[in-house]
């Protein structure tokens, strides 16, 4: 009886120790997976917004994507007019305005509200895209006066300015005093800007 009890105790303690270590490992994995899912959600959300940018035309009078300084010392906000698609609330269907910004709680947020013609509708939808962000910066692909392709950190609102074909988002997560960003995400937009002309060999 005693031997049996002893063996059972050993077996159970082994089982429990295995279970505790597997739970610890599982918790670590879950934390990593949560961070990964959060980033995946951020990528998908921004890609879906950027790929639905409304081009200048009958629906967008001026530039449909631009940066704007909202508060001093805060990173530049990105504002865009995009096609939200079909939503149960008709005001939030079709072209809507989106703003990407950093709030006081260090969260990268996305706010969506109906476009100007629905002034009576004051509702804003806010969602948190990423937690613990100390800073962020957008970079836009552009062609300069010397015809060279480069990156621009500001994309001010200009009349009928086209949407760039590539946007990069640099994110500083956690520690603030860091030069290089922790995370860089790239987004390809359905746009022809800047146009790159290739020359035939004999023309070179």
């Amino acid at each position: 009886m005693l031997i049996g009890l002893g063996l059972l105790t050993i077996l159970l303690s082994l089982l429990f120790s295995f279970f505790t270590s597997s739970i610890k490992m599982d918790q670590k994995l879950q934390r990593a997976q949560y961070a990964l899912l959060e980033r995946q959600h951020l990528m998908n959300r921004l890609q879906s917004i950027f790929s639905s940018c409304v081009p200048p035309g009958p629906l967008a009078d001026s530039c449909s994507l631009y940066t704007k300084k909202m508060q001093e010392e805060a990173p530049l906000n990105l504002i865009t007019l995009f096609d939200q698609g079909i939503d149960p609330d008709p005001a939030f269907s079709g072209p809507c305005l989106a703003r990407i910004y950093l709030n006081v709680a260090k969260q990268l947020c996305l706010a969506i509200w109906p476009e100007e013609r629905h002034k009576e509708n004051k509702t804003v939808r806010e969602e948190i895209l990423l937690q613990n962000v100390s800073s962020f910066e957008f970079r836009f692909l552009y062609r300069n006066a010397q015809n060279a392709i480069g990156w621009e950190k500001k994309w001010p609102k200009k009349e009928k300015r086209p949407v760039p074909s590539l946007i990069e988002l640099d994110l500083w997560i956690g520690i603030e005093e860091q030069e290089a960003p922790n995370l860089t995400l790239s987004f390809i937009l359905p746009s022809q800007e800047p146009k790159i002309t290739y020359k035939q060999k004999n023309q070179l």
């Binding site: 279970f19 739970i23 890609q47 790929s51 940018c53 008709p90 005001a91 269907s93 072209p95």
Partner: protein
């Protein structure tokens, strides 16, 4: 005996914990799969967009080889083209005349819209929202009135059908479902209607998909599509009437030609294009409007 029950209790707890872990893992796996398929769809969409843009820029190169192509075409039999995934703009019912001159002046168009609603949404949707008959007419009247109100508020802005708010909440929910569509159950309403103030063109049958044709020709729609895209240079109303008779499509009426045309015109390309892409593994599909 007591020890056995303790052991079983512990084993039960362990199995429960294992199940919880497994469920969590499955959920994360599903989310990962969704992310990958969404990324794939975005890539496919961008590729489709670029292909469309390149088609436009390479126009001159095509002209150079057109002579050679014509010779080839003569030698091979004309194949029936596969219909496009989305019914093009030129082949959609334009609501503008109804908004301008009303129902009495455009009785045929009004009836065709009602037929559209009956055909695609009656079986699968209407029964969930109302037991009454004639819901399609009630919906049509409310819908047209709401578009008129929206137009009077913003006369210069183009009408965006997704943004139309109906006064009746039940009808609003029905409208939302119709706009969204459901895969393999009912198509999206946006594929069949438009509000175009500029054009007075009739609905182009040559570019219409068989689904659109089924509103006018019922079961004979596929045969009509094949006839229009077949080897015959000219397709007449009589030919279509004959096909409908062969297929016993009772709904055909020659009056339709007041709003539809058999002419093979080339239409101006619109400033936007709608792309529909699907991931075959997860069956997730996205539909997006993009600028040309």
């Amino acid at each position: 005996m007591n020890i056995l029950s303790i052991v079983f209790a512990i084993l039960f707890m362990l199995s429960f914990a294992f199940y919880a872990c497994l469920e969590n893992q499955t959920m994360i796996h599903r989310l990962n799969k969704t992310f990958i398929s969404q990324t794939n769809i975005f890539r496919k969409m961008l590729t489709a967009y670029e292909t469309e843009i390149y088609k436009k820029t390479r126009a001159s190169a095509k002209i150079a080889s057109s002579k050679h192509k014509k010779k080839e075409e003569k030698n091979t039999l004309k194949e029936i083209p596969t219909p496009s995934k989305i019914n093009p703009e030129c082949a959609r019912l334009n609501l503008w005349p109804l908004l301008q001159t009303g129902r009495e002046e455009n009785q045929l168009l009004y009836e065709e819209l009602a037929q559209l609603l009956r055909q695609f949404y009656k079986k699968s949707l209407f029964s969930f929202f109302s037991d009454q008959t004639g819901l399609e007419y009630r919906f049509l009247d409310t819908w047209l009135a709401s578009i008129k109100t929206s137009l009077s508020e913003n006369p210069t802005d183009p009408v965006i059908l997704e943004k139309i708010a109906l006064t009746d909440k039940t009808l609003q929910m029905l409208y939302y479902n119709m706009l969204r569509g459901s895969k393999e159950k009912y198509p999206t309403l946006l594929d069949f209607v438009k509000v175009d103030q500029k054009t007075k063109d009739k609905l182009c049958l040559f570019h219409a998909t068989p689904t659109m044709l089924s509103i006018f020709f019922g079961d004979a729609a596929q045969a009509v599509y094949e006839e229009i895209h077949g080897e015959k240079i000219v397709v007449t109303a009589e030919m279509i009437e004959e096909i409908c008779r062969q297929h016993r499509a009772a709904c055909f009426d020659k009056k339709f030609f007041e709003i539809i045309t058999l002419a093979r015109f080339k239409h101006d390309t619109s400033s936007t294009m709608t792309l529909l892409e699907e991931d075959p593994t997860t069956q997730i599909s996205f539909r997006k409007k993009m600028a040309r």
